[in-house]
Structure formats: C-alpha cells, structure tokens
C-alpha cells in the first residue's frame, strides 16, 4: 500500500484490477481467447449462445447456493443437485398432467416441493442441532429417495414441447433459458437489495449476534434462504429436463459441488454474509467455458476431468487463499 500511484492511467488500472469482478472476467476472456486460438468459430455468436445456455443451468444452481451460503452459520446446500434432479423428473410429469396451464403450474408445483425440502433442511439445522453440510447432504439422499419412490423408477418420457425449445437460440446469443435465468437473477438481486429480509440476510450471515441484537428474525431469514434455494434448484431442474430433452434419476447430482465452486470463484465467502448474484453468474460461466473448451478440443474424458481439476485447483490457489495466521 506504500507505493504512490505514478500516473492517472496507472491509478485507473489499479481501480479496475481492484474490482471484485476483475479476476473472474479476466478468466472468462482468457478461456474464450484460448478457445478462439484452438478452434475456428469458438467466439461466434451461436457458440457463445450455446455456452451461455449451458451456463444458465449452473448459474441457477449457483444462485440457490449463494443464498444459502450468505445466510451464514457454515451454511451450504448440498441438496441442490438432488432437488434439481427431482425438478427434472417430476416437473415435466406434473406439467403434462395439469392441462393447458401445466407449463407454469408444473414449475410452480416442483418449486413448492423444493422449498418444502429446503424448509425441512432449515428445521433440521435449527432444531436438530445438525451442521448444514450434513443436514443438506442427508436431505439430498432423502430427496433422491423421494424421487425414486414417486416415479417408481419409471419417469414419464413426455416433456412439453415449449420446454424442449428453451435451449434454442431466439437471437444468438440469447436463448429462453438464458433470458429466464437473467430475469430470475434480477428478481433475486432486487429481493436482496430492496426488501428487509433480503438486506437482513447479509447481517444475519456475517454476524448472528449483532443481527439478533438488531431484532432481525434470524430463524425466518435463514429458513427463507434454504426455501428459496430449494425452489430455485427445482426450477433449474425443470429447465434442465427441457434443455437436455429428457430426465434421469440423479442426473443433476454433479451440479451440487459445481455450484459451490462457482459461488466461491464469483467472490462469495463460505463464512457467510458476503457475496453477490452477479459474481455467481461469472463463476458459473467460467466453469462452463472451461468444461466446454476441454470438450471442444476433443480430449478423452479422463484427461478432461483431470485438466478440469488441475485448473480449478490453480484458480483456487491464485484467487481464494485464506487469511494469514500471523497477525
């Protein structure tokens, strides 16, 4: 901090670099540039659109994760993937059985189910004296078991036509799934910045005792975060079924830890109370571009998973080191 800025340009550069979105944005540009170098047409609008469509699903899972992590108390939601799988399997089933308005009603129904499971997690954490990591981990197997029991292992194959087309481009790089995701991000962002409970979430997450002294309803705030996470995850699963054109048991289990990684790369602190929805979006885009790039250069799946792990490790080391112990 002791060096003096030498010129106006230098100072501007430092301001940009100090922005919390600088590193994530830089990573996205680097990955895209690498793709453009290696593959013709990687940066074309249709390809960017297809990457953003895939990133939308990770984004939704990450938004769900960010809300729970923000609520603090070592909050983490390891049931995101299981609730997504449930949304993917049960959502289209309900949508087809609920008649003309089924497309919306089906989404609403799985979101209600998802938030119900979120509430159960919150209750177990609050009254069962169980850490969030464990509670939501067990909730994930409860949800998976519930999905298996309700579908009797035979998910209905029919997915409404409108849902099937959400991944296709409207005007490249826009697709319905991306528009819906951006709308949901905006909605959640507004809730966080404009409502009492949304703003309270940050204080509850960073300092429970201070929040209690301020008279904030801690139990309700935290439970709302878990319920919102469940609802958003279920919605993400519903869209996933349309995007991938089918649903399988546990199809989305990989999204759970991906959402945690995306949240952290996007600047959310796992200790709670600090993080943004937009950062989560950037984190999700980074992880999706990385996966997509490795897929596009045609590496065998083992090498792909390996490189993905190494890059993630490097990103974490470069970017999310803990505080030093020496005071």
């Amino acid at each position: 901090m002791s060096e003096t800025p030498t010129s106006k340009g230098w100072r501007a550069a430092r301001t940009v670099a100090a922005n919390r979105y600088f590193v994530p944005l830089l990573l996205i540009v680097v990955f895209f540039g690498l793709g453009q170098l290696l593959i013709r047409g990687y940066g074309s609008l249709p390809n960017v659109g297809s990457i953003l469509a895939a990133a939308s699903l990770v984004t939704l899972a990450t938004v769900a994760q960010v809300l729970v992590v923000l609520s603090g108390g070592d909050g983490i939601d390891l049931s995101v993937g299981a609730v997504m799988s449930m949304g993917a399997l049960l959502g289209p089933m309900m949508a087809t059985s609920l008649g003309p308005a089924g497309l919306v009603l089906g989404a609403a129904a799985v979101m209600a189910l998802g938030s119900g499971f979120g509430l159960l997690s919150a209750l177990g954490i609050r009254f069962g004296n169980t850490p969030p990591l464990i509670m939501t981990l067990i909730m994930a197997s409860v949800v998976d078991g519930f999905t298996l029991a309700t579908t009797q292992g035979q998910p209905s194959g029919t997915i409404p036509g409108a849902l099937l087309s959400i991944g296709r481009p409207i005007v490249p790089p826009l697709s319905w799934i991306l528009v819906l995701t951006l709308a949901l991000m905006a909605g959640v962002g507004l809730l966080l910045s404009r409502t009492r409970i949304g703003r309270g979430l940050f204080l509850v997450g960073s300092n429970r005792r201070a929040a209690r002294l301020c008279g904030l309803p801690i139990g309700v705030t935290v439970a709302s975060a878990y319920m919102a996470s469940g609802a958003i995850s279920a919605f993400a699963g519903y869209l996933l079924a349309g995007y991938s054109g089918g649903a399988m048991l546990k199809m989305a289990s990989g999204y759970t830890l991906l959402s945690v990684a995306a949240a952290v790369i996007g600047g959310t602190k796992l200790s709670g109370g600090e993080g943004t929805i937009f950062g989560g979006f950037l984190g999700a885009v980074i992880l999706t571009v990385l996966a997509n790039l490795l897929l596009a250069v045609n590496l065998p799946s083992g090498v792909r998973v390996f490189v993905q792990g190494v890059v993630l490790l490097l990103v974490l080391v470069a970017y999310s080191r803990g505080t030093r112990l020496r005071a």
Binding site: D74, I76, G124, G128, N129, T130, P131, L133, I134, M135, L137, I138, M139, S141, V142, D144, G145, F146, L148, A149, Q152, G153, L257, V260, A261, V264, L270, P300, S301, G302, V303, R304, V305, F306, V307, Q308, G309, V310, L312, L313, L316, V317, S320, R321, G322, T323, R324, L325, R326
Partner: protein
C-alpha cells in the same frame, strides 16, 4: 463399584457413544429380522464388505478432526483400484502393485495437504478439485471397467486368516492401533488443537501447516488402504465404482460423533458409524421394503440416526454442564 460407575459415565459421555449405541441397535434389529445374520460366515462376509468404508471414514475422521474435510477419498479409491489392477495385469508382483497404488494415494494426500495447509485454501473446495484430479487420472488410465485381480489376492482377503482372525478385521485393528499410537505422540495433541482453534494453535507455537499436511496424508493413506480392500471385494478394475463412497464415509464420520467444526471426537467412533451405515442397507433389505422405497427408507433412517445422535449429544452435554 465407584470405578465401574465412573467408567460407565465416561463411556456415556464419550463422543463415540451415540454411534456405538445406534450400531448396537441396528445389530439387534438385524439379528431379529434377518435370518442367519449372526452366523459366523455371514458376519465375516459382512465385515469384508464394509471394511473399505470403515477405512475411509477413519481417514476422513482425521481430516475432520483437523478442522477440515476431505471429499477426494472416493476418487482416491478409484485411483488405487485402477493402478492396482493395471499394474498387476501387466505382471508386476502384487506387493509392488499395492505399494504403487498406495503411493498414488499418498501423492494425492500430499497435494491436498500442501494446498490446504501451506496455501490456505478452503478444504472442501480443494478436495473437490483434487477429486477431479484423482478421478480424472483413474479414468485416463482405465476408461472402462476392465481387468481382474489374481484369485489368490481376492481369496486371501475374503477368507484368509491370521491367528484365527479374518484379514479384514486385522486391517481395521491395525488402523485403530495406529491411531492409538498417534494419539500418544505430540502430533495427536496438535491435531486436536489445530482442529479446535487454528489461530490459537499457531500462536502456541504449533506448526499448523505441517499438522494439516500430515492429516491429509493420513486421510489419503486410509483411503488407499480402503481402496486395496475395495479392489479385493470387487475383484477387478472400475474407474468409477469408488466415487460414491465419499459421502457415505462423511455420514459415517458424523454418526461416529466427530464434530464437523473440528477438534472433537475420536476415530473409534468412525468404525461404529461406518458399521451403522452399512447395516442400514441390510436392515432395509431384511425388513423387505418394496424396491422403489428402499432408498427413501435408508435415507430416513440416516436422518433419524443423525438427528437423534445430535440431540443425544446435546442432552449429555447439557447434563454435563458443557464439561468437555
């Protein structure tokens, strides 16, 4: 009499007691509902089956005691399995193949320990990344399930005995003995100190970085040994089969009474937790639950077990005036 009372009190207050009680409960239930459950041969085959999970949860227990987490252990099992099967398929003597496989596990553990301990990155995220590293390597070496282990190795594990004790039991006892020795060394004390409060441990002059490094190497060592027994169980190579064990081990650790915030509990409890966890499947099968409801029933039993255990622990802590 007083000695007995103190001993009983100590047992009741021990962090692994709830796990022990729940394990006994499920053993009791199974003895009633599953025919032939208590026969020696079925007990030994059950022991062979659950030993990999027991090993993994003991190692994970050490990582959790240090205040962290290790979710790369399932991928380590995959890597160990693949290295072991590939090398022995190429005619490498079995002992060298086992050593190389466990060496690969130790390398993953050292990577975890260096990044978590020295570079100070969150353990959950680091081990998530190294899970891809180790799992990717396993897939790279062996893209599809293939290969077979020598029948001698498989037989030696499943029905071999030494001093009339089954091999699987000896593996568990050896790990438990190792833990007992470790607890007596300075490292054992440092481990719990770092787990309870890393900052305080640091200012007390403990080399917290090295303690963390050792913890993750030990976790990977246990996962490596678990991977060898797992390979003996499945008898061949499979680059993905071990992955699902991570979360099962985590559940076992929690049921075993190790606090996720670190520094509290002991590895003995992990054994009870792992046995409890493994017995759930037996119970659900024994109670002839309809096929599609088995997973839900098993999940609900785990939920009830963990909630019950946590409430029990809180109750004893309150009765004890929070004396720990």
């Amino acid at each position: 009499m007083r000695g007995l009372a103190t001993a009983t009190g100590g047992l009741l207050r021990s962090s692994s007691f709830p796990g022990f009680a729940m394990m006994l409960l499920l053993i009791g239930v199974n003895a009633v509902i599953t025919t032939g459950f208590l026969r020696l041969s079925s007990l030994v085959s059950l022991l062979n089956l659950i030993t990999p999970l027991v090993c993994l949860s003991m190692g994970l227990g050490i990582a959790v005691l240090s205040g962290g987490l290790d979710i790369s252990i399932g991928a380590v099992v995959c890597l160990v399995n693949v290295v072991l099967v590939t090398l022995s398929g190429q005619g490498t003597p079995l002992a060298y193949a086992v050593l190389a496989a466990v060496g690969a596990a130790l390398a993953v553990g050292a990577l975890n320990g260096i990044v978590i301990g020295y570079l100070r990155v969150n353990a959950l995220l680091v081990t998530f990344a190294t899970q891809s590293v180790a799992g990717g390597l396993a897939l790279w070496i062996m893209p599809l399930p293939s290969g077979q282990l020598s029948p001698g190795f498989v037989e030696g594990y499943s029905s071999g005995t030494f001093l009339a004790l089954p091999v699987a039991l000896l593996v568990v006892l050896a790990l438990l003995g190792g833990w007992g020795v470790l607890r007596l060394t300075p490292y054992g004390t440092y481990l719990l100190a770092v787990g309870r409060d890393e900052q305080k441990a640091y200012v007390s002059g403990i080399d917290t970085r090295r303690v963390l490094l050792v913890s993750y190497v030990l976790s990977a060592l246990c996962a490596g040994i678990g991977g060898v027994t797992f390979s003996a169980n499945i008898g061949g190579g499979d680059p993905l089969a071990g992955l699902s064990m991570t979360l099962n081990a985590l559940a076992a650790v929690v049921i075993g009474g190790i606090s996720l915030s670190g520094g509290r509990g002991g590895v003995l409890g992990c054994i009870f937790g792992a046995v409890f966890f493994a017995l759930i499947t037996e119970t659900v099968l024994g109670a002839s639950v309809a096929a599609f409801y088995q997973d839900l029933a098993a999940a609900l039993i785990i939920l009830a077990g963990v909630l019950g255990m946590n409430l029990l622990q809180r109750a004893t802590a309150i009765a004890d005036g929070y004396r720990t």
